[in-house]
Structures are given as C-alpha cells and as structure tokens.
C-alpha cells in the first residue's frame, strides 16, 4: 500500500497479550505505513487500536513480533526516551496536558534535554502555538481552555521536537464536529506542509473520510486495509484548493 514510498512504520507479527496471556489484544499484526501517509485506524471498541498505537510509540513492549519506526528497531533501541522525544509526536484521546503549567510551558515540556536554552524553548513553543492558532492563550492554564483548544495545545506539544511521525489516539473523540474539523485540518496540514506521517485512531467516519488510507481492525487483527474510496489527497501542497 505504500506505493514505493519509504516505509516509516513496519509491524511484523505483533502480538500483545494482557491478563497473563488470556486476553490477546493484538494477535499478529502486520502493517507497513509509508512516509507522508495519512492513515486512519478504525474498528470497534476493544479491538486493539490503542494497544497498537502504544506499541508503535514505544510506551509499551510487544510480547512477540517486530516494530520498526523511523528506522529504529524498537526491540533493540537503547534510548527509547530519545525516540519518543524526537521521532514521534503523540496526541492522546484525553489531552493529558499538565494542569499546573501554562499552555506555553506544556508545549515546552518535551524540549527538556534536547539541548535547547530556556529562551529557545520559549521561542519554539510560541512558534508552535501560533501554528496551531492559539498563541493568544499561551499564558492560560489548560483547565481554562475549551476541549478543542486543549487538543490543539496537545498537537503543538506533539510537534515540539519536529517529529516525522504523528500518532493520535481518537484526538477528536470528545469534540463537536466543527471543532473536530479544525483539529483534522491541522493534522492534514502537517502531512501536507511538513511531509509528516500521520496515523489517527478513530471511531469517527468523518475523520476516516479525510484519510488517504483506512485500516480496519477486529479482535486484534487487521481485517481490511485499503485506499479511501474517496480519491487520495495529492501529496503536493499546491494541488489543494
């Protein structure tokens, strides 16, 4: 499915079980995702979507199988924190912002230990906040923001260290459709302007409709993998209205 593009995410025979092996959340997942793809992962609740995303983000380890992301073999990677900081950007279903910090400070959090000065972190965070369109809320605390605003902060934080892969787990799950649309515009523009690979786990057919590839899962397996019925979005930025 990757049309000869470089494979950025490769899963081979990935198995993940819980409850001492009684619950096979992932039961042999094979998957290749190419650079610059916008992929939606769909499927009923409990089919293993989040589990797969967590393994790809190295938040958890598979019981079996291989996962390679952005050229890193996650089984043998010795500095997963570097991988998580630089190679991927995570957007959670709940925004998971730190309530004690301001919006700008939240965006700075992943930049610690990346060789940036406090001033550079500040400047970069402001730049990212203006990219997601909420630089005017930089000094606010997350609890003062709307759900859509918070999710935009979360996207800005995911972009902190310029990752090539954005992984989002139901980023619009709790947003109304208008707000969802704006968050999706943002994710799409990342792919379009920065060539980022975007993987979105979603329930929402409207989200899936905007992806250029939809992967369906059931009971821990990939059961359908195909181009969107809708014509794929062209990769060139100027080709879109």
């Amino acid at each position: 499915m990757n049309d000869g593009r470089d494979v950025v995410i490769r899963c081979r025979g990935v198995v993940k079980a819980f409850e001492n092996g009684r619950l096979r959340a992932l039961d042999g997942v094979d998957l290749d995702i190419g650079a610059g793809e916008f992929v939606a992962i769909m499927g009923p609740s409990g089919c293993g979507k989040s589990t797969l995303l967590n393994l790809i983000s190295a938040l958890d380890q598979p019981d079996d199988g291989e996962i390679e992301v952005a050229g890193h073999d996650l089984r043998s990677h010795r500095h997963l924190n570097h991988f998580r900081a630089r190679d991927i950007g995570l957007v959670f279903q709940l925004d998971n912002l730190l309530p004690g910090l301001t919006v700008r400070e939240n965006v700075e959090v992943p930049m610690y230990g990346q060789g940036l000065s406090a001033r550079q972190r500040h400047a970069r965070a402001m730049q990212l906040l203006s990219f997601v369109g909420i630089e005017d809320r930089a000094a606010a605390r997350p609890p003062e923001l709307s759900g859509g605003e918070r999710q935009r902060v979360a996207i800005a934080r995911a972009l902190a260290n310029g990752p090539g892969v954005i992984l989002a787990d139901e980023p619009t799950g709790r947003l109304d459709s208008a707000t969802s649309g704006k968050v999706l515009d943002l994710l799409e523009s990342l792919r379009r302007n920065q060539g980022a690979t975007v993987v979105v786990v979603t329930h929402d057919p409207a989200v899936a409709a905007r992806a250029d590839r939809v992967i369906r899962m059931l009971d821990g397996r990939v059961v359908e993998d195909g181009s969107n019925p809708r014509p794929a979005v062209p990769a060139a930025p100027d080709a879109r209205p």
Binding site: D60, N81, A85, L97, L98, Y112
Partner: protein, 371 residues
C-alpha cells in the same frame, strides 16, 4: 522556563501540603540550630573558664557527674603544685546559689593571694584582703544585675559580705558572678577543705599535654581538663548536650525524612498520570527522578533557611532568661548552620529516594493508565 522553575511550580501547586511539610522540617532545623548555638556557646564559655586567670588548663575530680560537684581535697593542691612542670596551682570552689533574681548565681571561692596575683582586672575598689572572711569582689555584670557598688553590703545565703571590688572578666561566670574567700565559700557550701577545680599555670618551656598527663599519673583521683571538650569527662550535662544534639539531629532526619517521604509519596501518587505523560513525551526516567529529588531538595532547603532563622530567634528568646545569660554566651559557629543544612539535605534524600525510584520504575504505559 528553566528546569528548576518547573520543579518549583510543582511544589507551589500543593501549597498547603508543601507548606506544612516545610513547617515540620523547619521546626526540626530550629531545634538543631538553637541547641547547636547554645551548646557551642556553653562550650566556649566553659572553655574560657578552663583558661581563666591566665591558666594553661585545669584539674578536676575524676568521674565527677557535674563540674560543680567536682571535689578535690585542699591537701591535693600542693601535691599538684609539686608535679614537675607546674609553676602555679590555684584551687577554686564553685557554689551556685540564688542572688537577686538569678537562681544560678556563681559564688567562686578563691584564695585571696591567688586572686591578687592572677585575678581579672579591677574596675573599681580592690581585691580580697589576706585573711578576710566577709569580703566579696563582684564581676561587673554581677554588680549591675544585683545593683551593688563598692562599699555596699551584700547578703548571700544569709551571710553579709562587704563589696570591696568589681572586676572585668573575660570569663562569663566570673563576670556575672562573684569571688569570695575560699574558706568562707567552703563554709557556706558545707564543703570544708575542698575545692572544685585547680587551675594550673605551666613552668616556662614545658609542654601542656605532658604536664596534664603527668598530673593524672602522679596524683590519684584527678583528671586534667585541657580543652572545653574535656569538660565532658567531669560533666554529664556537657555530654548530655552533645548527646541531645546528636539525638535531635537523628530524630529530625527520621521524622523529617518520613514527613518528606509522605509528602512526596502523596504528590507522586497524585501525579502518576502526569509522570506517564512526561515519559510519553520523551522524558527519561533519570529526568523524572531528578525532578522529584530537586522538589524535595528545594523544600528542605527552604526549611533549612526558615529553621535557621527561627533557631536564631529561639536563641534570642532563651537568652532573655537571667540565669542562662549568666551561664553562657551564644556562639554562632558556622558549623552549626552547616550541620543544619546537611541534616536538611539528608532529610530530602531520605524522603525522596523511595518515591523517586517508585515513580521511575513504572513504565510510561502503567503510569498513563493509572487511575
């Protein structure tokens, strides 16, 4: 935002909890500082007494429980004077009694001849006359406290003394006390033919430690007190102060450590998901550990500063008590504050290491799923 600022944010988020922990630890530090300053003050005051009248050191009864209980028969004084290397041996008898508002007024019994030869400088009047029994020389502070002058009569323990002189002494106990003829003090104290301590002046060209040891070897039942720390040999109060100091530091570490641990465990517990987020966005376990340790260190550092300050206030308060004022001068040795800060750091480490390790043991996933 700097890392330290981020850590400070975390502390300030739980103001009440951080504040209460800070108060708890700073009270421990207060005690350490107050006791340290007072112990050091007592030692330097006592150390000055060891060398009073230009003496090189002093001798007391071996195994005395308290310096004021030390008893050496008067007949031993010439024996000590005869030890080779001793130029002069002057016996003195302590008698603590009530005078004016001071319940611990020191009346020091001395031989008039010794006082005339080696006594502190006179500000007024004269020293004790040879053979006089009802004369008294006051320390300048003692005279002020009792509001008496040369020529006045002063009653101590139902005995009327004539004030014949006032001296200015570097030794606080003399300065706020009084000197009277040895025979009279022996009578009042009912310790006839006894002295408490013997001050030694060395013959020129002799070594202090050698002479001190020789006295112990040749004269049975006595011990040489060369430094203030040696006073512990004849004064369990002295040892008690040292022991109390160690015990309170130890207690402060244990109680403070448990307090910090409690605070940090609760705060880490509550922030488990946040720690999961930090790990998920790329923080290493080590960075999380550093964050938690730094939180505890900042808390304890603030407590050390506050506690030192409160300790100084406590010393000021204690020094208002007249009997204490006549007994010791506070000594603000840097060591005391260094000790307080070391205790604070140990408290922070003891309290934070377990929660920090616990927090870093969790995988990012476990932390994120934590409810």
């Amino acid at each position: 935002m700097g890392f330290a600022q981020l850590v400070l944010r975390n502390l300030l988020r739980a103001r009440v909890r951080s504040g209460l922990t800070l108060v708890g630890i700073s009270l421990g530090i207060t005690t350490i500082v107050a006791l340290g300053v007072i112990t050091a003050g007592f030692k330097s005051t006592a150390g000055a007494f060891v060398q009073s009248g230009g003496a090189d050191f002093m001798v007391a009864q071996e195994g005395a429980a308290d310096m004021s209980f030390s008893t050496i028969p008067e007949t031993v004084v010439p024996q000590i004077a005869a030890v080779s290397g001793v130029a002069a041996a002057r016996g003195a008898l302590f008698h603590f009694t009530r005078a004016g508002s001071n319940p611990l007024f020191l009346l020091l019994g001395v031989t008039p001849g010794d006082l005339a030869a080696d006594g502190p400088p006179l500000v007024e009047g004269r020293y004790l006359a040879d053979g006089a029994t009802d004369e008294i020389v006051l320390g300048a502070q003692g005279a002020t406290d009792l509001n008496v002058r040369v020529g006045d009569a002063l009653t101590i323990d139902d005995r009327v003394f004539h004030v014949v002189g006032v001296v200015q002494s570097d030794v606080l106990w003399e300065q706020s006390g009084a000197l009277a003829p040895l025979v009279t003090v022996q009578e009042i104290a009912n310790r006839r033919e006894a002295v408490s301590v013997v001050h030694i002046t060395l013959a020129s060209g002799t070594k202090r430690d050698e002479v001190a040891r020789r006295i112990e070897d040749e004269v049975p039942g006595v011990v040489s007190i060369v430094t203030a720390d040696d006073i512990g040999k004849i004064d369990s109060g002295f040892q008690l102060l040292d022991a109390a100091n160690v015990a309170i530091s130890g207690l402060a570490i244990v109680i403070g450590g448990i307090g910090v641990m409690n605070t940090m465990v609760m705060s880490i517990f509550e922030r488990t998901r946040e720690i999961g987020v930090l790990r998920a966005v790329g923080w290493s376990g080590w960075r999380v550990l550093r964050m938690i340790l730094l939180e505890a260190l900042m808390l304890c550092f603030a407590a050390a500063v506050a506690g030192s300050f409160l300790g100084l206030l406590a010393v000021q308060a204690v020094m208002r008590i007249p009997s204490v004022r006549g007994f010791l001068e506070p000594s603000y040795e840097p060591n005391v504050f260094v000790q307080a800060f070391i205790v604070a750091i140990v408290v922070a480490l003891v309290g934070a290491v377990y929660p920090a390790i616990r927090a870093t043991r969790l995988t990012p996933m476990e932390a994120l799923r934590y409810e």
